[in-house]
């Protein structure tokens, strides 16, 4: 995944096609990756346009429809294709709305963490000295905490809620892009074009953001996608434990948790939201794998 160490790649990308673009073209040539990218994009569209797509109000209870089975089973009805939950709320609509929580939290955490991680990693890797010592120590310390327990402890203090969950996950998440970027920066800052920029009198900030950053985008993108899949599972786990966004807001993890007590007979309550999590996370993981393969110089011809 270290595109910069590719011996074949020119240190300065030729005009017209940068290394990053060439990598993206390679990625786009994989049918499998594009298929799962389409599913991922489908989920994003579903999240954005949830109010127009969802057939019913996700929070409207109706005790007459309590535990109604999916349409193809006896007692089912195509108006409520995946059946209804214990309060008679439409499961399909709740899954559609639940994608908003998963995708929004996943994207927000990764955005915050990647921004902080990239800046900290660039600073540590390029400026070195005490900046590197301070950042690397902090990274070591935060890496000492298992992820979920750290997030749980923070939420226990701050209380559940959208903003608190994002913060609780981002507090530790930035460490991962930071380590990657630091390593890449250390390797990149020795390459001629960076030295040339330095010789021409470019300032540190300019070198970091204009010369180094564009050349380490590939590994950053790979790490962000694979971590996003991970963060979505973590958010679902928190919701499952009752520490995620609070009811009545639909989230996939809490839907699985709510359906648990009915799983002996009404299996659909937990099964469908679980499939949604699996499908989204799986798609992102395949896309990430495709990106990694495309960016890995060993796979290039």
């Amino acid at each position: 995944m270290t595109a910069v160490t590719d011996p074949e790649a020119p240190a300065i990308a030729p005009k017209g096609e940068t290394l990053f673009r060439r990598n993206m073209r390679l990625f786009a040539s994989s049918k499998l990756s594009m298929f799962f990218l389409a599913i991922t994009v489908g989920f994003v569209i579903m999240a954005i346009f949830a109010p127009w797509i969802a057939p019913h109000d996700p929070n409207a209870p109706d005790l007459f429809r309590r535990l109604m089975p999916p349409a193809w089973m006896e007692g089912g009805d195509w108006t409520y294709p995946l059946g209804c939950d214990a309060l008679g709320r439409d499961i399909l609509s709740r899954i559609i709305y639940g994608s908003r929580v998963s995708i929004f939290i996943g994207a927000a955490v990764i955005l915050v963490a990647t921004t902080i991680g990239v800046l900290a990693g660039l600073a540590a890797g390029y400026l070195r000295g005490w900046v590197d010592v301070v950042i690397s120590r902090l990274v070591d310390i935060l890496l000492g905490f298992p992820y979920l327990i750290f997030a749980i402890a923070l939420i226990a203090m701050t209380g559940p809620g959208l903003q608190n969950i994002i913060l609780a996950l981002a507090y530790k998440e930035w460490v991962i892009p930071c380590r990657v970027v630091r390593g890449e920066t250390l390797a990149t800052s020795e390459i001629e074009y960076v030295e040339a920029a330095r010789a021409l009198g470019a300032g540190s900030r300019n070198i970091m953001l204009r010369e180094i950053l564009p050349n380490i985008l590939s590994p950053v993108l790979v790490v962000s996608t694979v971590r996003m899949a991970h963060v979505i599972i973590l958010e679902a786990s928190l919701s499952f434990l009752g520490l995620g966004v609070q009811p009545p807001t639909a989230s996939w993890g809490s839907m699985v948790a709510d359906g648990r007590s009915f799983m002996l007979s009404e299996w659909w309550l937990s099964t469908f939201p679980g499939i949604a999590i699996l499908l989204l996370v799986l798609s992102i993981n395949v896309v990430s794998q495709g990106l990694r393969d495309a960016f890995d110089p060993r796979f290039h011809d």
Binding site: P146, I233, N285
Partner: protein, 335 residues
């Protein structure tokens, strides 16, 4: 690895562990609510008694003094009182720990037993159907939310087939007098095959649920490193000498290919601890993870903080062990 290097590495742990305790302490400072009030609950006491309790718990001291007191106490295994259990936190944690250790070990064993043979086979028969299946399975393994997978397993094996119990770690009739506090070990030591069988039936599903992501990761690592090793000159040489294929695989290739697997396994054992909260909740496993989750809802902060500190110290130590293990196993790395 020389003793000097080992000591140096051990000393490097000190700033990390100190930093970890500072973070846990800061969490404690910012915890909402007054510990004395939470502890008293609905009981009404005089102002003097409240002040006395506050002094007793060291809450009247300035933050830095409180930190050193907290650190000193923690080093002696004193984490204060659990609000909820009205027992020392350390005792409550100690009583729940064996179940968590047993489950983590079982998950580790499951992950190793599945991932190593599969990874080796996938590498040896690269691009075969088996390789494809293994790759796809491992992709599912890392994408599967543990809580949901656990529920599916219960639904299938416990509810539909009725082969395995739904929750808990032992039936009533299979109580054995503790020696190690690990049920599987104790029941064997006490010569109670019935209790062993019972404990085994209880642990299978949670161990698989907890171990699945780790098995997937280890499978990939084993496959990749086995492919790498099979490409080496000494394997070609061994083949040229006319040695039998299985002998080459086991004696020459596997020994070297397992170095990364063992290292990653040591690191991932830390993640098993982190995943325990979810799996223990799903399976009603009486371990530390479920205790932490329960403690959140009753605002039992001292217990949460002690558990976070405990998890972090264990995690740091496991990573340290993984580092040492890697150095010892891999003579090319001289640190």
């Amino acid at each position: 690895m020389s003793l000097g290097k080992l000591v140096e590495r051990l000393l490097q742990l000190i700033p990390v562990l100190l930093g970890v305790s500072v973070i846990v302490f800061v969490m404690m400072l910012f915890t909402p609510g007054d510990p004395v009030e939470i502890m008293l609950g609905d009981q009404h006491v005089t102002e003097e008694l409240e002040q006395a309790m506050r002094r007793d718990m060291g809450l009247d001291l300035p933050p830095h003094e409180r930190f050193f007191k907290f650190l000193g106490n923690a080093l002696q295994g004193d984490f204060g009182l659990s609000y909820y259990h009205r027992q020392p936190v350390a005792d409550v944690i100690a009583s729940r720990l064996p179940a968590t250790i047993e489950l983590s070990l079982a998950a580790l064993i499951f992950a190793l037993c599945v991932s190593i043979p599969l990874g080796v086979l996938a590498a040896v028969k690269k691009n075969s159907i088996l390789d494809r299946i293994a790759t796809v399975t491992s992709l599912f393994g890392v994408s599967m939310p543990g809580f949901w997978f656990g529920i599916l397993l219960i639904l299938f094996f416990s509810v539909t087939l009725r082969w395995l119990p739904v929750s808990g770690n032992a039936g009533f009739s299979s109580e054995v007098e503790p020696i190690t506090h690990l049920l599987l070990v104790d029941s064997l030591l006490r010569g109670r095959p019935d209790a062993f069988w019972d404990a085994l039936r209880h642990i299978i599903l949670p161990a698989i649920t907890l171990g699945l992501p780790m098995a997937s990761i280890l499978m990939r690592v084993t496959r990749a490193s086995m492919l790498d090793v099979l490409d080496r000159d000494y394997i070609t040489f061994a083949e040229a000498k006319g040695l039998r294929r299985t002998k080459i695989l086991v004696k020459h290739a596997l020994k070297n290919a397992l170095i990364p697997t063992v290292t990653v396994a040591a690191i991932e054992t830390g993640s098993l601890l982190g995943g325990n909260m979810v799996v223990e909740t799903v399976f009603g496993w009486p371990g530390l993870g479920r205790l932490v989750v329960e403690s959140i809802f009753v605002r039992n902060y001292p217990l949460i903080q002690a558990a976070v500190l405990f998890y972090a110290v264990t995690y740091v130590m496991l990573n340290f062990a993984a580092d040492i293990l890697y150095t010892v196993l891999n003579p090319r790395v001289r640190l």
